[in-house]
Symmetry: C2
Subunit: 470 residues, 2 copies
């Protein structure tokens, strides 16, 4: 069982890589190099900040057994593992340093089974969200969680971050669509948790604990997820308002109705102006703020009537969009404003109780004035999740890589405003490395201790993704 | 801070009770006595088995702070705590012995807040499920989880067991309706976990871990739960079939449609005959098996048309029931067969992948023949959860308290059949004490070790509900 003799390894990672080559030559592994530098970053890391330095080692196991082998090798050599899907995260949860081993799920990309009669699909973690939905659509089915990255992110990454998306208020976040998981634990064992049946209660719920755990407890190598029939109808309504405040207030009118849209996106005035500036779309001519709504399911006419009446009473100019116009509007929502190299910017991902959304938007002008920046947001209004954007034009001669503190101070003020109304520092992006300080502000120390105790119970040597999430 | 001098306590519980009287005289506490014998049992324990012996000590704290006091007292004296709601559980999760302290949530029964604009209610754990729904109904709102015990069970108990119910396939189990919890941990600290916002990801998900944990991790003293608008319409369809097999097969026809009923209850031939025998209801005249379906929401006519067509094609005689007839049918479903003192019986709570429900029913006659008993079931067909019933008439002179092994052997065979098709030993009742052996059959030893490691991480001295669930 011992490794072939190697020339004195200088680090645990070197020794691990030598053993891997000797014992598991079938596993594709990249050594730390400039080639792997991208694995030091994720989609939340500005590309301009990618250095010329070496990235981590990266392994591409093709089977659960290969993942087990890698975990045992890492444990043997005291090298920590960073599980990684497509790297589309925004909070640094899947970023790695040069002394770490990234375990990529890129080659664990099989859709194992689609079982409409059980309303489940069984997938490996590297399956793209879009690939699963492409497979399901011809069957009249869909997988509900729809993070903005759905075309390029993996089901495994979605599970690791408990990814949200646009349709969560109606269909739930990723956790509500995961029934069972196969997971490789820190000792290299492979366990199956959860149930293929839709109900099941057998002791502590390990499935829910692994969902959203950002790779700190183990590596998901298989998932049984819920799938649903495509709705019999979908319809897009636009509701334009004379002001950001009027639009934000109207969210309450939707809540007070009996209609639960599949999507409710709120775009404020600076956002509409930013989209117009970037794309010449003319949205601002139709109003100062927009609630872009998707209805789905049975009784679409009844739903449209009740919701249109509620929104009109709230001051909206409501229109049922044609399919073509609807597609154009959703594309504008997705592609949105462009933040070019001539601007510094900072993003965000707070969530607040639904009734407080309007209050958060009302506070933006004061924050913007205080720090001399622009503050705006798009909100998933159905579930209280806001993505604020702080931006500032870069003056001539300034270093684009060095935004003034005002940009991040303004972003922090938005987070503080959310916490002040009972909100949270992360609605759907997770904590990763980027939000650990903010999480420490939100969470009671005893809660953080409890989270760490759970982490230590399953991964006592700290093998998985140290320094993330907790 | 030290206790008043007491006469030599003979047990930890005696000492605890003396300290409680001295330090927390405001907390109502019953000493172990015949009066507390009921707390040794739950709704799954046949009343005839209640002994004359002493029950546990029982405390009725009225505030979270009083719960903290009790937990600290118990920790000081090494006395274990059994948290208990209304005691309507069926798996022994809330039963206690004479050396334990039951912490009842009966006096923690305040509905703290109903916030329609946030789509949440904030309750103490002792609030009855029915009481919350009575408060919500005039506002046009409801709390979705609906275990059969909903009129008499508590939200806290529902949370402890992750209670299911009839509407789970559409609205989810209890876990999907719980956003945040206040919990007293083993060191007496009170922590708040989760978010009032509908989305939120801040490290390991303690809320989901506490839901369904059967009181082994702490005591829930407050909960923020999701509430929803009452559907604009509800309608009951009956679909009678010529045989149990035909009815069970038709479940697949519902799945294949685009309609997702709020309730799909399947009653097999012996169940219909049992109801008729007990209540003279004449169901059997209408068919041999029944799918009793509730539709809700918008487009109720469209839903009715699509589902009726699918069921008729599957061989059903379908009828839209009048409100009065519907209420009578649901009452028959709820009150069901009567199992009088002249029968031995055993119940069950398996869940299987939806496509395998028909297979489980098809296996009942062979199990019945093998053991010389009757086997039937009612199924929550929308989520694969079956409640089998094994019964046997007690011959003259036999001891009603001593059923022959055939009864339990047949029940075990049903569980084995469920496991053989990828099912689970508990769909919604939980493990408690009753199903620990069965859970050991279903769960890999490594999974059970992981569950125990999590338990030990949060409750290292085993204060909470030892011997349950894990």
């Amino acid at each position: 069982m011992s490794a072939a003799p190697v020339i004195a390894p200088t680090t645990g990672l070197d020794a691990l890589l030598d053993d891997a080559r000797a014992e598991a030559p079938h596993i594709e592994v990249l050594r730390p190099s400039a080639e792997t530098a991208a694995f030091a970053f994720d989609a939340g890391t500005a590309p301009r900040r990618v250095s010329d330095g070496d990235g981590p080692a990266v392994a591409f196991p093709a089977t659960p057994a290969e993942v087990q082998q890698l975990v045992r090798l890492a444990a043997r050599h005291g090298v920590s593992i960073v599980p990684r899907g497509a790297g589309t995260g925004l909070s640094g949860g899947a970023t790695a340093s040069a002394d770490q081993l990234v375990v990529s799920t890129a080659r664990l990309d099989r859709i194992v089974e689609v079982a409409p009669a059980d309303e489940v699909a069984v997938v490996e973690p590297g399956v793209l969200n879009a690939a699963l939905n492409e497979r399901l659509a011809p069957l009249g089915l869909f997988y509900a969680p729809d993070p903005a990255s759905w075309r390029i992110s993996t089901i495994g990454g979605n599970i690791a971050t408990n990814a949200g998306g646009l349709r969560c208020a109606k269909y739930g976040v990723t956790r509500e669509s995961v029934l069972a998981l196969d997971v490789v634990l820190a000792d290299g064992s492979l366990v199956s948790v959860g149930h293929r049946s839709i109900k099941g209660v057998t002791g502590l719920d390990l499935v829910s604990l692994f969902v959203g755990s950002e790779g700190v407890l183990g590596i998901v190598v298989g998932a049984t997820v819920r799938i649903r029939p495509l709705p019999v109808a979908r319809r897009t309504l636009s509701a334009f308002f004379a002001s950001t405040a009027a639009g934000a207030d109207a969210i309450g009118a939707i809540t007070a109705s009996r209609v639960r849209p599949s999507v409710i996106e709120f775009l404020d005035q600076p956002t509409l102006e930013g989209i117009d500036a970037a794309q010449g779309s003319g949205l601002r001519d139709r109003g100062a703020a927009l609630l872009l709504i998707e209805l789905d399911g049975f009784g679409i006419d009844e739903q449209t009537a009740e919701l249109s009446a509620a929104l009109t009473a709230a001051g909206a100019h409501v229109r049922v969009e044609s399919d073509a116009d609807a597609e154009a509007l959703w594309e504008l929502r997705r592609s949105g404003r462009r933040f070019d190299d001539d601007q510094w910017f900072a993003g965000g991902d707070v969530a607040v109780p639904k009734s407080r959304i309007a209050e958060i938007f009302a506070g933006f002008p004061a924050i913007a004035d205080r720090h001399g920046v622009s503050v705006s947001a798009v909100a998933h209004a159905g579930d209280g999740n806001l993505h604020p954007v702080i931006s500032l034009r870069i003056p001539p001669g300034a270093d684009p890589a060095l935004p003034p503190s005002a940009v991040h101070d303004a972003a922090d003020d938005v987070v503080r405003a959310a916490l002040a109304v009972g909100g949270t520092v992360s609605g759907e992006h997770g904590i990763g490395t980027v939000k650990r300080d903010l999480a420490a502000v939100e969470l009671d120390v005893r809660v953080r201790e409890a989270q760490l105790a759970l982490k230590n119970a399953l991964d006592p040597s700290g093998l998985f993704n140290p320094g993330k999430a907790l």
